[in-house]
């Protein structure tokens, strides 16, 4: 039973992460689908500059109603880091 729940939760998280990655892929034209993974360093996977930072912040605000600050971005390395931040703030609100 416990195993089943763990599996269900993992599956749910995985689905949400897939959705998060899809949202990012939709925003950046030069990012080919399937390249960006949960453990990817997002700064190295697609071009990282101040405009792309704003695009990412805008997407997170529209899709998740969560605000990412400059510090959040500096402290995040992987897609998973970003996602954990968002997930954390969503569950608090």
């Amino acid at each position: 039973m416990a195993k089943y729940f763990t599996f269900a939760i993992l599956k749910l998280l995985k689905g949400d992460m897939e959705e998060f990655i899809k949202h990012i892929e939709a925003e950046f034209d030069d990012l080919k689908p399937g390249v960006l993974m949960a453990d990817s360093n997002f700064r190295e996977t697609f071009e990282w500059n101040s405009i792309n930072a704003l695009i990412l912040i805008a997407m997170v605000k529209t899709e998740y109603d969560v605000t990412l600050t400059a510090d959040d971005l500096i402290q995040s390395k992987t897609v998973n880091d970003l996602y954990s931040l968002i997930d954390n703030r969503k569950s608090k609100s």
Partner: protein, 351 residues
Amino acid sequence: MALFSLSGIKISGIAAAVPENKKSNANYQWIAIRERQSLMKNIGVETRRVALKGTTTSDLCVVAAEKLLQELKWDRTGVELLIFVSQSRDYLVPTTACIIQDRLGLPHSCVAMDIGLGCSGFVYGLSVIGSMMQSGAFKKALLMVGDISTLTTCYRDKSTYPLFGDAGTVTAVEYDSNAPVMHFNLQTDGSGYRALMIRDGGARNAMSRQSFEIKKIGKGIYRSRLHLELDGIEVFNFTLREVVPNIKKLLASTGGTLASIDFVVFHQANRLINETLRKMLKLETDKVPYSIRDFGNTSGASVPLTMITALKNPLETGKTKLLLSAFGVGLSWGSVVVETDRICIPDLIEV
């Protein structure tokens, strides 16, 4: 909470003047071609109008006002209120509105003053001029809003240089006891004043030799303490946090809905900000006009400039219900619901 309504005032006409000198961001060689393309697509600025040295905001506003007064056939002796909203005044001292009163030949019975606001300036200016007029003491007034922002941006600062354009606008406001009520919601959060500022040259930090030193701030960002600085992420998050609740509270207080609004005119901050606001409010694209592609972020002039360049036909030919929302430097922001009825809009003037 600064939620209030004004009655007895109407907008009779709006005119704008921009410099003829056009700069294209496709040629902004300080940044790589790919970044320029991304800038034009996402920030949304393709070309900007840049005033030549010596041209002031008041010069643009005065040219626009001459044209508007002529088309409205207003007798200037009846214009007894003039408000100039700008952060690029002719001189530190005196007030620019006084000089404009004389240049336009307005009577000595005219009340003239400056308001030092930027992006939010049109909505704030309209509220001040409307508040003074609603008693009926003034029959005709001019609200001038504009900035020459390019004077203080540094070519080697990619966060400001390709964003801003220059413009001067004038709005003719008239007392009319039958005019529909205007509803305002104005707000301020001065804790964010550093997000958009010029550090030196005012009383806090007087101009010194060090004020002119250009320093590296970040990748692609060099400037001195006399240049305009902008914290993009800070301004972006402020806008996404505050503007939608401000609009929702305004509409709730009037019992109105967005569905009853014909057009929502946002300050032209950047395309990404404005598109995000549009999506958050679930507005169709044809309800949200833009001027940023051709003129850039024109500070306080952006709302009236967008009305002139994108909504000339509906504003001239019929009745419209508008929601105007402006936000930025201060931090200062506000919205107004205003109804118009066949207002006079001369063609955009190039100086």
